[in-house]
Structures are given as C-alpha cells and as structure tokens.
Subunit: 374 residues, 2 copies
C-alpha cells in the first residue's frame, strides 16, 4: 500500500501481503490513470472529510461479506432510516444514490400529458430522466432572491389540469440558495392531488436557516409528496451510492415498481449504518464546512466578488468573461470547479473543501484578480 493511501484511509492497517498478480489484463496495471494528488477537487459538492472513521471501519469489516447479497443489511438500513426520520419502514425506499429515487419518481409518474415543473437552474438529473418520456418541461427561472419562484411554478403546474411533477431542490443546487419552507408548505397545503412534489433535500443537514425545514412532515397525509435524501453529502459517501425517498406508503409502493432489484451495495449499507451511529458526523461535517465557507467568503469579500450566500457545501460566485476560459485557467492552477449551469454562465460553482484547501483556493482567486481574470 502506498504510504499516502495508507495514511488517508484513516485507519492503522498493517502492511498487507496479498498475492494479486497481474493477469487477465496485464496492461491495465500501468494503464490506470490516477487522480492527481495535487488537484483541488472543488467541482462536485463532495464532502472532503471522506467516510466517517466508523464507516471506514465498517467497510473493512464488511469486505468478507461483500460476496453475499445484502438483504439483511438492507433491512437494517430501512429500519434505521425509519427510526431516524420518525416514520414507518413502509415510508422508505432505498436508492442507488438518491438519483435512483428521482428516476423512479419520473418513471412512476409519467403520463402522456404530464408536466415537469422545475427551477432554472436546478439539479439536472430529473430533467435528464424525463428525456425518454413525454413530459412537457416547464422551466421557471429562480426569482430575485435566487429562490424557487413558487407562485409562477404553481401557475405552470396547475394551469393544465393534467398531472404535474414539481421538482423542488431545497436548498437548491447549483445556487446553494434557499426557498422558504413556508412558501412550499402553503402550496402543498392547497395543491390539487394531481400535483406531485418531488422535494430533493440532498443538502438538508447543512442548512441552519430558521426558515428551512423538511417536507417530510407531509408524507403521512399526502401521497403526492416525495422527499429524497442522500448519503453522498454530509455523510461523505458520494462514491458509495446510497440514498432514499420518504413518502406515503401508497407512493413508495408506486416507486418500488421501478426500483432496481438489489440496488444498494452491501459496503454502502454497512458504512451508512455505522455513519448513522456516529453522533459527531453531522456536527463535524457542518463545522468543517462552515470554516471552509468562512475562508471563501472572506476572500470573495476582500476581492469584492459577488456571490450567493449558501445554505449548502458549495457557493456560486460571479466571474468575469466566459466560464470555459475561467474553468480552464482554474484547471491550469490545479483546481477543478463546477461545470456550466445555464443560464447562470457568469457564475462559477465552487464546492467547499477542507479549510486548508479553501486557503489554497483563496490564493488562486487572488492570483486571478492580479491577472484581471476575476
């Protein structure tokens, strides 16, 4: 094991002597490209803390069971999530990431005349999943607060009289901004049954605003509300692919018609279960994020660069010139930042890394300023 990897697993692993000769694909042994250790990876809203120590340990303990189908661990996870969220097992649907639950919703709710009403910009997976279906996409620009324009979305959803799937990512990605939960509640309260709310709460744990709360409160009574959560963000498990939906049992039954059988990886399940038992995981993640965010804000303030105050683990800030050039220059300075999010092409999205990484990023921004690039 390379020394660096050894240290980064965060566990004292003895020096292992394992066979593992080069065989079937000998040329692969050297062909494997490695991520550069020097690149600052601030493009994908990943949690830089990585898996929790208890989750790392659970993965290692779990290796000897990874040849078995994960039915029991799956049951344990459903039970744990039900308990965590104060709901019944029937309210939970696991996904291969929350994206699979988004996919199930799109598939389960498709009708020939359905509409998908969503903000612009917002997370791209839902419109992507709509592509093979006849959904009519209704993109409603974020309002002046960079919140979902609930009034206009409601108008678009309810004017047709046919089914509408309303996608609400709150806090929103890629903007990091909040839509006041009271506004969403008011709409759900009055909404017709044929309006389905798919509420993506991927960044739920990061958001401390008193005007923000979960839509889970609706699922007991309203089959037309689906909430999604993920282990990819605060739990630091983006590569492990585990997420879930919370919904009324009628609705989870509908979603499960489109589920992938055995869609959750055993090691993801044991890592997730260990993470749920770690009382420090969420505070630790939020604290590291807040420190990294502070460093970024201070630098952006110092340089007088406009940005959208964020309720997540990423921030959108203004750039000068075109985004492609900006990202290319960032890349040349060893920083990977977020892709283009039309129509906000005068902004760049940067994810919050470790505090020391954000210091490095701030230095790059200062260099950019000196060069007149920002």
């Amino acid at each position: 094991m390379e020394r660096r990897t050894f240290l980064r697993t965060g566990l004292a692993l003895g020096a292992a002597s394992v066979g593992g000769g080069i065989g079937l694909l000998p040329e692969l042994a050297r062909a494997v490209p490695r991520r550069s250790a020097d690149t600052l990876r601030l493009s994908s809203n990943e949690n830089p803390l990585g898996l929790a120590p208890a989750a790392r340990r659970a993965v290692i303990d779990g290796i000897s069971e990874a040849n078995r189908y994960p039915d029991e661990a799956r049951d344990e996870m459903v039970e744990a999530l039900a308990r965590l969220n104060g709901v019944a097992r029937e309210n939970i649907v696991l996904g291969c990431g929350s994206t699979e639950v988004l996919q199930m919703a799109v598939q389960a709710l498709a009708t020939p005349d359905a509409r998908l009403v969503l903000a612009e910009p917002t997370y791209e997976d839902v419109p992507w999943y709509c592509e093979p279906f006849t959904y009519r996409l209704e993109r409603v620009p974020l309002d002046a607060r960079f919140a979902h324009d609930v009034g206009r979305m409601q108008e678009r959803a309810e004017s047709a009289g046919s089914r509408a799937l309303v996608y609400v990512c709150n806090p929103n990605n890629p903007t990091g901004t909040l839509t006041p939960s009271a506004e969403i509640d008011a709409w759900i309260e009055s909404a017709l049954e044929h309006v389905y709310f798919l509420v993506d709460e991927a960044y739920f744990e990061y958001c401390k605003d008193p005007g923000y709360w979960s839509c889970v409160k609706w699922i007991a009574q309203r089959p037309n509300v689906i909430v999604t959560r993920t282990f990819s963000k605060i739990f630091g498990m983006a590569g492990m692919r585990l997420g879930y939906a919370l919904a009324h049992p009628e609705t989870t039954a509908l979603l499960r018609r489109y589920i992938g059988r055995v869609n959750a990886n055993y090691l993801a399940l044991v890592a997730g279960l260990a993470s749920l038992r770690d009382p420090e995981l969420i505070p630790r993640g939020c604290d590291a994020n807040a420190r990294g965010m502070r460093i970024l804000y201070d630098c952006l303030d110092e340089l007088e660069v406009e940005y959208l105050p964020s309720h997540t683990n990423f921030v959108m800030h203004r750039i000068r010139g075109d985004l492609r050039t900006y990202r290319q220059r960032m890349s040349e300075h060893g920083v990977r930042v977020g892709r283009p999010f039309p129509p906000m092409l005068d902004h760049s999205r940067v994810s919050i890394g470790l505090p020391e990484e954000m210091e490095q990023f701030a230095d790059v921004l200062r260099t950019f300023r000196r060069n007149g690039w920002i």
Copy 2:
C-alpha cells in the same frame, strides 16, 4: 474488530483504534442482527471464496476516495471490459448489477404490444421489471433436456408480428442447465429485426461445455442482441453490485436512456478492476466450484437422488414432499437453500459452497435420508 471478522477479511489488518461512538441511533448498536456464523448459506448462488485478495486490497485502498464520485474509475472499467471482451467502449453499459441492465432493456424495449418470451422456470428479474408495462408474457416450459425450447420460443416470439423481447438465461438459473449455443445462434441468424434477444450470461465463466459459447459474437452486426454479464458470480462480488451489458452502439445508446446516473459504486469499480487483473481468479473459482460440485454429486449419487447436472455454481435436485417443509427442515439443520421456483416445486436449488461446506451439506442430506425426508 471481532476475531472472526478479522480473520475472514483475508488481510492482516492491524488492530484499529477508531472513535466511532454510539450516537444518532444508539439503540442500533445492539439491535443489529448478525447473520449466524453457523448457517450454511447455499441459497443465492454466491461465490463462497468471496472477493479476490487483490479486490479486498483495492477496497481498502479505495476507502479514502469513496467520498468522491467515481467517474474516472468508471471510465477505467468501461475500458477494461471493452478490452477483455474485444469490443469498443461504445459496446459497454455498466449496471448496478447486471439486473439494472436487464431493467434498462425491459424499459427501453417496451411497446404497447410487446411480448416477453421466456423460459419457465428462469431467472425472475426480467418478468418482474415487465410488471408496470403492457408486455404480454409468454412463458415456454424448458424442454425435456431442461434447455430452452428454442423452437416454441421462436414460434411465440414471431407469430405476433410485433416486438418480442426474448430472454435467454444461459446457462439457465435456477436449473443450471445449458441451451446449446448453436440453437440460439441459428435463431438469431434468421430472426426478424423486431425480435430482441436479451441473453443473460451471469454464469458464463463456469460453463466448460464445448457446445456453449457467448452471444457476444453477434453484437457487432445485430442491434437486437444484448448480452449481460455480472461481477456477482465468478468474481464473488454479489454484494458490490456491478454488472454490464454488451451490445451494438445503437442499442447501448437506447439502454443508456434508462440508466441510473452514477450507478456503479466506486469500491465496486476498484474491486472489479483489481479482479480483472488477477489471472488466478477464474481458475480458482472454477476449481473450488468443481470440487464442491463433485462432493454434492457423489452424495446425491450415493443417495440415488435425481439431479440436473449443472453448468453453473448451483444444482437442482429432487426432493420428496413439499418444498416448504424441506426448506424449513434444512433451516433447522442450519442450511439455507434456494426459494421455490415454480413449476419445479419438487426440486430444491442448492448453491455450491466451499468444499468443506459441501461435506457438511452432504451430511445433512444423509440425515434427511435416514429420516425419510429425501
């Protein structure tokens, strides 16, 4: 780490001291049910050797990256699979297990008047995925050889003139039997374009019969042939959820419209890549399987129990009386065996464990015989 788990990871891991207190869900710490170490798990066609040593090592090395989305590892895997199978990257679609690829095929090929033509019994996932669609299911009993009845399947598929999705699991699960590849080839050769072949080769590596070969040879020319493979069986990665399809680029493009975004777990990818580089993995798995199979056959021969000679890592044998009672008794003797596979309810499916496990299973069978239960 429990001593047993410590040993079973197959790696010399130092005794780790990790925080991991009990927190969010304190009651879970004790509530976690554990699989009984004394149960012989012979129900799910899992590879008892577990992950290859190199794959175990790759998982441990990969933990520090499991908080990152796995795009690069995914690219490496597609490249490796293309090379392994002598095809292009465009011919490969990764799945969260091969089951996700089966799901994509069912979804992508659904039409209002489509038929699904399949053997009875065969693997259940494909008809399960058909359930929300208007597929008309045409179940064709296996023939006297317990092979697919290609003639009758062809008749059912081609009589309607509308699209037919033909599912061929070869070797077949749950019977372990073979359909001669020449018979499948002859049909594909003459088949109309609206007949799609979904050929499940999950047990491909186990089958040594000279009358068996892959349907991959067809994909260059025939967009209506889809072959699926998995890391769950010979690669011992059932819990890791990784499989793939091999098909014509037109067809992979169609399948990808229904893919789950980021459907492959990072640790599964690195474990899979390490497994592909291990030249001993397949011979080792086949050898252990053959030894276990020999022990089972010898016992069944000794007891004069009828069975279907198998081309896989499981065997169907005759039972007396009803399957529910048989399985219950097996469970009381610490053995988990396969579920009911209608209409073959006078047979039980047993997976091949380690040779020593098969000795134990043989002893249980002898006990059953003494009790008049078999």
